[in-house]
Amino acid sequence: MNETAHAFRPLGRAGMAARAAQDIPEGWYVNLGIGIPSLIADHVPADREVVFHSENGILGMGPAPEKHRENPWLINASTQRVSLRTGGSYVHHADSFGIVRGGHLDLCVLGGFQVAENGDLANWAQSASEAGRQIGGAMDLAVGAKRVWVTMEHTTKHGHARILKQCSYPLTAKHCVSRIYTNLAVLEVTPKGFVVIDIIPGLSFDELQARTEAVLHRA
């Protein structure tokens, strides 16, 4: 295959975040996970009112402040200093997860290691035996939000598929993911499996399929 005839440029982290941000309408209450998802807020235009939630009890979270306006008492779930938008509020941890588990969030965007064609998500460990277990709020978010989207690289650093027939890593939750934004495509999880709803310029459907273990369907 002549690669130069099929030149395509995978999206970077900011590109993936910007693509997902396009699809978040005004009025939604949204939780953004650690990593690429946390970049999404920077790509929602300031005049589009989207209310961001953070697990440690913030509704109406705003962007990182300028250095001289930093508030050491105001950090997000990734322990980065953030701001509070006008109209924002604080709740305690149990109420914060009441917001999550109670189905009050319109959307949660999580990072992922693997997603399966039935919507299963694995995003907190690469084996069951690790001394580290970094669950945090991911399991609550995955079962609680009205929609769960995942942003992640389409394949691993070594080129292995992450979009699979079945996850091999420990699950975060079953049947929870409705959409995936990767550096190559946007996929919708449907009863028949993954449907490709967007693909980056220069990459063909067949080339995308070659980088995906699960069977892809055309929109």
């Binding site: 440690n56 322990t79 941890h93 399991m139």
Partner: protein, 232 residues
Amino acid sequence: MINKFVRSMAEAMNGIKDNSTVLLAGFGDVGTPNALLDGLIEQGATNLTIVANAGGRARSPDHPARGLPRLIELGRVKKLICSFVRAQSIAGEAVRDGRMEVEVVPQGTLAERIRAAGAGVPAFFTPTGADTLVAEGREAREYDGRTCILERALPGDVALVEAWMADRWGNLTYRDSGRNFNPVMAMAGKLTIVQTHHVCDLGHLPANEIVTPGIFVDRVLHVEAGDPKLPE
């Protein structure tokens, strides 16, 4: 006259026994009762079960461990119940070397187990964690077509809490994201000990703004702790 203020750390820590379960509030460094943790390290109680959001940071040659990682390093923690522990951390090492047990639970389940303890609910079913590794050993039932698992309440013999302002009845307010686990842990501790940045006269805190009423609080120590720090 009710007066929950104590004048010294020794008085604040008095009577904490070996084998206690200690609820430790805070998220990152914000709302974390660091002075009380130093006091607990000094006080000497051991074989503790610590309930906290996270296991804390990695070993660093430049910054000696403080707080929870220090308590773990000293071998005083028998078991850690938390939502997040890194393999590459003082807590992760202790788990790997078999010096400490760990129970990692989803963060919302952790908060709700503590809330339930404070509210007198012995157990509850939740969809979080169903069909995952955390469901192992848990009773599962279906409600409204979803699999849910049974989680037990998680009370503390002691709760360590950080407030922004307190009065002599133990009424508390918090600052910004410093609220986090503090209100639910205050409810769930048999002995709730508070460090507060500011103290005020009874009647100064507007009734509508008190987040934790003094009924949940046993002891209050005034500690001018300064601003929370970013992770090292």
